[in-house]
Amino acid sequence: MRVIVADDSVLFREGLARVLEAAGFEVVGQASNTDELDRLVESENVSLVILDIRMPPTQTDEGLVAAKRIRRQHPEIGVLMLSQYVESHHAIDLLGQSPDGVGYLLKDRFADVGEFIDAVLRVGNGGSAVDPLVVSQLLGRKRSRDLIEDLTDRERSVLSLMAEGRSNDAIASALKISPKTLEAHIGTIYSKLGLEPAGADHRRVLAVLNYLRSS
């Protein structure tokens, strides 16, 4: 899979490129700012862009703006945004346009290479990846009238994996349950929370996140 890496730290880009190449990705370009990134996106035929949210010149949200632009102009390219902080606001902002091929992870997620590569692959293949911290924060959020508390532990695990953007197969194998049992869990979750069943896999990410944020 052809990938572009964008970050203003050359050490980080190199390190990330090595991790990715070790996992079999082809890093075809590195960009230190969004202008370089835009040029690479136009010239290289890639499946995925991995970029930092904070980029020169103002070091605020140039990366986010660039990510949204790439999504708009090249819906076929997946965009994985990395950040030192994760905020549900940005997650919704990014996923809101179309959750296909969008990921948002904490910058140090690659500490667990397996999980990280899994997320990269998901986004590169048109799925989505939401940082577990975003999900756990939203799930752990205290509410005055909390339907989440009605869920069993198992159902809560299923919900958080759904919110991270995992597919049914991935959830089933992660929790070591059969696809049929999983389907049943998902059905219960939807009815307990009063959610409309929303498509399969990553399509439901946005609905679940929005639910967790709003209620």
């Binding site: 030192q84 905020e87 940005h90 140090d108 690659f110 500490a111 959020r141 205290k142």
Partner: protein, 569 residues
């Protein structure tokens, strides 16, 4: 002018009136009504002039009116054929002098109400008229019949070559000057000029029509109507003078208002009202800054001597209290301005002190705002340094450890791999802690996405339920306002969690009449106090630094509400 001179002029003027009446009665072959039409305008000018002169002895308006009246009557007398026949030189002399009444009239119109010709142009023109018009009369005598039997009225004298056009030119120029003065002046000047301006308009038109003589036979009609308008002038002038008396009473009203206590903001309107000049400005002297300023402390440049605006400096010129800037037409009403200024002197002094205080307060406010802003910028800088420095380096280190681990595994060195794995876990822990520290210093989401997402992000991390209601609108607030409100919310929530024992917190946001409002309330034990503890105190200062205010409601009954309002334009 001595009393004797005054008496002589007064008696002389009355004598001219009497003589004119006598001459008309004795020699006129015309009907009584036309005799009256001849006599009344001149006499009314003289009588009104005498009254005006005694009302305002220092004002030349009265004398000028007497001059116009005497001139008019002289013309009447001179026109009587038999007068000339009785004493021929008298006729010639009278005709020579008599057209001057028109020049005196123009002089009067331009000098009303102050009695002085204010602009240089007016002075030059009037002086040259005094020289040119008798010359024109002389021309008329030389060119025409010396006895001048044919002159019906000097102004209508179109049979005399040369003189007519000169009269016309004088009149056109004179009227143009009066109209110019009218249009250049503000409301105050127009008000003071109106008693002479409105009668002047028909007089000028009739005068011009007659002089150009396009109307042929109608001249006689005009000649009958013309004196009626002339009567309107002295009447208007007297009304104007009486109104000046009323103006003095408006200063009296001002004094009454002052005794009731006038706020500094009300002084300027009250003065403008008393002096009938809406354009009047009060400029306060600020000794520290050494300039004049308005109530807000903003600098005011005083007009130069040549401008249409006049200035009265109040107080000792070395260290003035204030200056009044007004329409220059009020210069004519020097006494009025002086009286009004004396009446408000003390109030102005008081207001000046307030302006000084406000100016100092504004300086302090700005410096406080700058301090807080500098602190905010410093916080952001520290956060950015952490982000781009320590955090980035630790992430890079994490990556490199990751690569090392992969290589160790590839070289079948599970022991090293496991040690590196432990390091990775420790490093991740350190990164998490550093991340929380940096977030506390300045949350990046506040700069990236604004106040509402930052507050929501805050509430998502709270150990008790926090409900966020309301909106702040689509347009983001300025950074110092966002920072102030953010820290109000974060500090208040922290307090609620730490001390209130409440079960839930509610954050409500709103934007009303130019204010952004944030309210944090809990259902805890209450008893929060602004005077105790530096937390709330610091928040109050922070909000005040951006021009807002913080209100804490926290009774023994329970529950605490902290409300911050900041002006957001």
């Amino acid at each position: 002018m001595t009393t004797l001179q005054r008496r002589v002029i007064q008696v002389g003027a009355l004598a001219v009136v009497a003589l004119a009446c006598y001459a008309e009665a004795l020699y006129s072959s015309r009907t009584w009504s036309s005799v009256l039409v001849d006599i009344v305008p001149g006499s009314s000018f003289v009588l009104a002039g005498l009254i005006a002169w005694s009302l305002r002895p220092g004002n030349r308006v009265g004398l000028l009116m007497i001059g116009v009246g005497v001139g008019l009557l002289t013309v009447d007398v001179a026109l009587q054929d038999r007068v000339s026949r009785v004493w021929q030189p008298a006729g010639v002399l009278l005709v020579f002098i008599s057209p001057l009444w028109a020049v005196v009239l123009i002089h009067l119109l331009l000098a009303f109400p102050g009695g002085r010709l204010v602009s240089r142009l007016d002075r030059v023109v009037v002086r040259s008229f005094y020289a040119v018009v008798p010359l024109a009369a002389l021309l008329a005598i030389v060119a025409g019949d010396p006895v001048l039997g044919k002159i019906s009225q000097p102004a209508f004298d179109i049979e005399v070559p040369a003189a007519g056009p000169i009269y016309a030119a004088c009149l056109v120029i004179g009227s143009a000057l009066v109209i110019r003065r009218w249009f250049l002046g503000g409301r105050a000047r127009r008000r003071s000029m109106s008693p002479v301006f409105w009668p002047m308009v028909p007089i000028t038109i009739l005068f011009l029509l007659a002089t150009v003589a396009v109307l042929g036979r109608s001249i006689t009609v005009l000649a009958t109507v013309f004196p009626l308008f002339l009567v309107a002038l002295p009447a208007g002038i007297l009304i104007g003078l009486l109104r000046a008396g009323l103006d003095m009473s408006s200063v009296g009203d001002l004094v009454v208002k002052l005794s009731g206590g006038l706020a500094p903001e009300q002084l300027q309107p009250a003065l403008a009202h008393a002096l009938h000049d809406p354009s009047l400005e009060v400029a306060y002297w600020l000794p520290a800054q050494e300039f004049f300023a308005d109530l807000e402390g903003l600098r005011i440049e005083l007009p130069t001597a040549d401008s249409e605006r006049a200035v009265s400096i109040l107080g000792d010129p070395g260290s003035p209290v204030a200056a009044l800037v007004y329409d220059s037409s009020l210069v004519d009403e020097g006494q009025l301005v002086g009286t009004a200024a004396a009446a408000v002197h003390l109030a102005l002094q008081n207001a000046r002190l307030q302006v000084q205080l406000r100016a100092q307060l504004e300086e302090v406010r700005q410096s406080r705002a700058r301090l807080v802003e500098a602190a905010d910028i410093e916080r952001q800088r520290v956060e950015r340094d952490l982000h781009d420095g320590a955090q980035q380096q630790l992430v890079n280190l994490l990556l490199s450890l990751q690569v090392t681990k992969t290589e160790a595994l590839r070289h079948s060195d599970p022991e090293t791999a496991s040690r590196v794995e432990t390091n990775i876990a420790d490093l991740k822990q350190a990164l998490d802690e550093l991340r929380e520290l940096a977030r506390g210093i300045h949350p990046t989401i506040l700069t990236q996405a604004g106040l509402v997402p930052a507050i929501r992000s805050l509430t998502e991390r709270c150990p008790i339920p926090v409900e966020v209601t309301g909106e702040l609108g689509d347009v983001r607030l300025e950074a110092p306002l966002e920072a102030a409100l953010y820290f109000v919310v974060s500090e208040s929530i922290t307090n609620a969690i730490k001390y209130s024992q409440g079960k839930r917190v509610c954050v409500s946001l709103g934007r009303r009449s130019g204010f952004a409002i944030v309210e944090v309330s809990d259902d805890g034990v209450g008893g929060a106090d602004l005077s105790v503890g530096s937390g709330l105190r610091g928040l109050t200062d922070r909000v005040a630094a951006v021009g807002g205010r913080l209100v804490v409601k926290s009774g023994r009954a329970g529950g605490t509400t902290i409300r911050a309002e900041v002006p957001c334009g």
